[in-house]
Amino acid sequence: MAEMLSYTFMQNAFILVTLTSISCGVVGSLITVNRMSSFTGSIAHASFGGLGLAYLLGVHPMIGATVFAVGSALGIGALSGRNKLGSDTAMAALWATGMAAGLVFIKLSGTYSADLMSWLFGSLMTVSTTDVILTGILDIVVLASVILLYKEFLGISYDMEFTRIQGVPVWFVRGLFLIMAALTTIVLMKVTGLIMVIALLTIPAAIAEKFSGSLKRMMILASALSFLFSITGLFLAWWLDLPSGPVIILVSSIVFFSVLALRGKTD
């Protein structure tokens, strides 16, 4: 372990997963109680279109991905307020369209395919200082938002209509949540890649939901589980010489299905 942590790139990887665990647990809990996991999958894949376009235009891929993720999150959010079925179809369409557009743009830009793989499946071994700083800023924004607006986030998640009748500016709180979800998705792409982001956002939160009496505790427990799964996955990946993103997801899902099986027995 000492040897492993003597490498700067491993230190960066550890710092990054520690930081992502915070926003992952908090935002993942909100996504889970709002039953919006397919929404997350959709914006992750939509962001791939932005990545491709950024490569084609020669701007930083992160910028393209972020613009597409936030834009599609707010777009779906606006739709789902009016039409549940329509937004479900829109999410599925966006999912595939984002991937297709991204692949076409990347082919046109002549980007080396290893870059592509790191966006799809994660690249914890190449974490930059910028990644760490951006993730830290996101954590601060996410934590400040849920601390200051906790009762409003709880309100819109539990009973949106009642919360609206109470005079809460629901559009603002929900918009903030959607933007946080989009940004967290982007940041987590470094850890697991966009294809598996959905798992890291929802598995720790889904386990935490079963053992928490409040949304607050669910957020804390989900962050702790996310941290545990990421660190364990990182260690195992190092020892077994396997890619870290998939190993983190496998660790998470083994625990998830074990919990399901054990709970199923006792119920």
Binding site: L148, G213, S214, L215
Partner: protein
């Protein structure tokens, strides 16, 4: 002046096929009204209009003499219960949502908010459940918690959407006793599709199926039949007497 005054209200999601049409309704201070109607008959639309969540295509809406969105603080709203819903939230935190408007953005709930929430839970006999997770409660207990949530804003009008849809007959009975008790302090309006579940505590009945057919003290089978578009017995599965029989007794006695 009435608490709710609807005049010629036409509303819905599609202008060509409004969910309610030319509806007149007035609710007075001490009223206890059940609005009955089939599913899709416009009950929810009516509630949304009163709550100011839906602007009607035509007609005028006054709630406490004002535009409905300005009177929400005087309304305690009890939405329909979704029995199978799981959510990590405590009973007390659910009740506190009724204090969102008085508490304000960026603030934590005050100790006064908590005290009022606990007091309402106590009044409704579910005080001991305050720390429990909401989804571990029975249907009847959840119903009381949602009423406590509606009451913490100290409303003058209680509005309930399908309040007895997911509770058993015995719970229904004590539930109506509770509403009757609350009715001494505030107007109570409930909407339901289940005619058989309307108790004799209710002072008047209105029937809605796009049009508001009957409203007031007297109700007969032809009114209901018109509202539903089918004979009354079919709607109630042959048990109309509990409602109408009880009403007639009280009318004559």
């Amino acid at each position: 002046m009435g608490i709710i005054e609807l005049r010629n209200v036409t509303a819905g999601y599609n202008r060509d096929h409004p969910a309610i049409e030319n509806v007149d309704l007035s609710v007075e201070k001490n009223d206890f009204i059940a609005v009955i109607g089939p599913n899709g008959g416009g009950k929810t639309t009516l509630l949304k209009v009163v709550l100011g969540l839906l602007v009607p295509f035509a007609g005028s809406v006054r709630v406490f003499g004002e535009q409905p969105e300005h009177s929400r603080k005087k309304i305690g709203y009890v939405p329909q219960l979704i029995p199978s819903r799981t959510f990590p939230v405590s009973v007390l935190d659910v009740v506190l949502m009724g204090r969102l408007s008085s508490s304000g953005l960026l603030r934590r709930y005050s100790s006064e908010d908590r005290a009022i929430a606990l007091e309402k839970l106590e009044n409704l006999g579910v005080h001991h459940l305050s720390k429990k997770r909401m989804d571990q409660l029975s249907g009847g207990q959840k119903q009381r918690v949602l009423i406590a949530r509606a009451l913490v804003g100290e409303p003058d009008l209680l509005l309930l959407d399908e309040p007895v849809a997911s509770v058993d007959a015995e719970t229904q009975h004590s539930f109506y006793n509770l509403l009757s008790r609350l009715n001494s302090r505030m107007a109570v309006v409930l909407v339901t599709h289940d005619v058989g579940a309307v108790s004799s505590h209710v002072k008047s009945i209105a029937c809605i199926n796009r049009h508001l057919v009957s409203h007031g003290e007297a109700i007969d089978e032809s009114d209901v039949a018109r509202a539903y578009g089918c004979p009354f017995e079919l709607i109630t599965h042959g048990v109309p007497h509990r409602v109408l029989g009880a009403r007639r007794e009280s009318d004559h006695g």
